[in-house]
Symmetry: D2
Subunit: 138 residues, 4 copies
């Protein structure tokens, strides 16, 4: 269990009111948690830019009718087996599939994998949700 | 199967060379596909901003030792059952779990869900990977 | 002068250390200021999305050799006179000009203006730096 | 004058219709220009990430009543004289000033400068509008 640290912060009253109001809108009921989350989001951006070990999700959609597409997707995923944790697959409609690949590893390698998937013919869109292994963010 | 349309584009030679080179770096071997993907990325941003029906993934990490946390996560997910498609869960290490929720529905409702999950005590980071249902992007 | 408010925040020690270290890297020597700035950045994003009155800068580059280009840029700027505060113009090299337009007004109107400038033939890139009028952020 | 190159692109008709419609909304009347601009935006993102020489604008707001603030801003700008091209200054209201600094140089150094300005006490927000020298984007 992580050790908690308590310290004082000075803010303009007006700024604090605005922040509290936005935090309530986002369902926070604890100001320290709202501040901690802003800080973590900032640290995670830094983790990704500096090439540290990160975790996240590659989400992509494709038309499963395209020939050879499924094979290519599987082939690429096998080449990146060391960063892929698991995969979930959803049938969006008659044509479109949504596939979400949970990943952990170097941000560079994971970016490469997302690029390679996005470049496959028949894949309409690939995006990378950047999160963290949780180790360096408290 | 979608109908293909062929048309001419005029670009400065230098710009085209730069684009081809960046596309190769990203593993594209087809210029039309690289251009189509830029266009789709742009359309998907618009889908999200205009509140249309979208699909995507909410990725979050949490410390499963925190009391009551798992119950809260499940409670919230039940309240948003109509936009949640499926969930995958990964044990990152002794403390940290990564959970990825596949979602489809209005971008506003999905943003709300991501906010609510992020605000739970013990959730360290929640992020929303924005993709598409694939219907309005060719 | 804005009234200062002092309150306590509880963070995991590890998270606080990471944040202090990143803040030092960014030249902060005051933790309250670093936290206030994260909060302001967050509020400003919200101001822009909700269409409030904002301030910022439209930056664009163009090749001044293109015929009619300068006239079109001036024409458009005159149509948006109520949101344009001032303009600075820089000769980057023999071909390229950089122009920066300071703007204040509704985020929608300013986005429209940036789009219109970007769409002019000869303008290579237009981007919108989103800041604030300073009124709602403490 | 840059040499123009004409080539064919194949897109699904539906995708092309959507793109044409979005482009019209953004005031484009030329499809090649709309595609060229997407490509340039993409190349510029790459320029910034890879540390090349770039151009842009640092926009910041501050309360000019804060003591010593103006001196600090000028001091820092003098230390970065080799990347600063010019500055415009706007009085937003009784308290708030908007200052926009046109910059050209390495993306790392310019990011440092933006950080240093943002960290000054009394500066409420600093943001970096990333554009290009125009040299590597056609």
């Amino acid at each position: 269990m992580a050790e908690l640290w308590r310290f004082g912060v000075s803010l303009e009253k007006d700024l604090l009111d605005k922040f509290d109001s936005l935090s309530r809108k986002r369902s926070y009921n604890n100001r320290s948690k709202a501040i901690a989350d802003l800080i973590r989001k900032d640290l995670i951006k830094e983790e990704w830019q500096s090439g540290k070990e990160i975790a996240g999700a590659i989400t992509f959609i494709y038309d499963h009718h395209k020939r050879e597409l499924m094979n290519k997707i599987v082939d690429i995923q096998h080449n990146y087996g060391d960063v892929i944790l698991s995969t979930q697959h959803i049938h969006l409609d008659h044509d479109n599939c949504l596939e979400i690949v949970a990943v952990k590893g170097s941000s560079k390698k994971i970016q490469d994998l997302a690029n390679k998937i996005g470049a496959i013919k028949g894949v309409k869109h690939a995006t990378l949700g950047m999160s963290s292994t949780g180790k360096r963010i408290g």
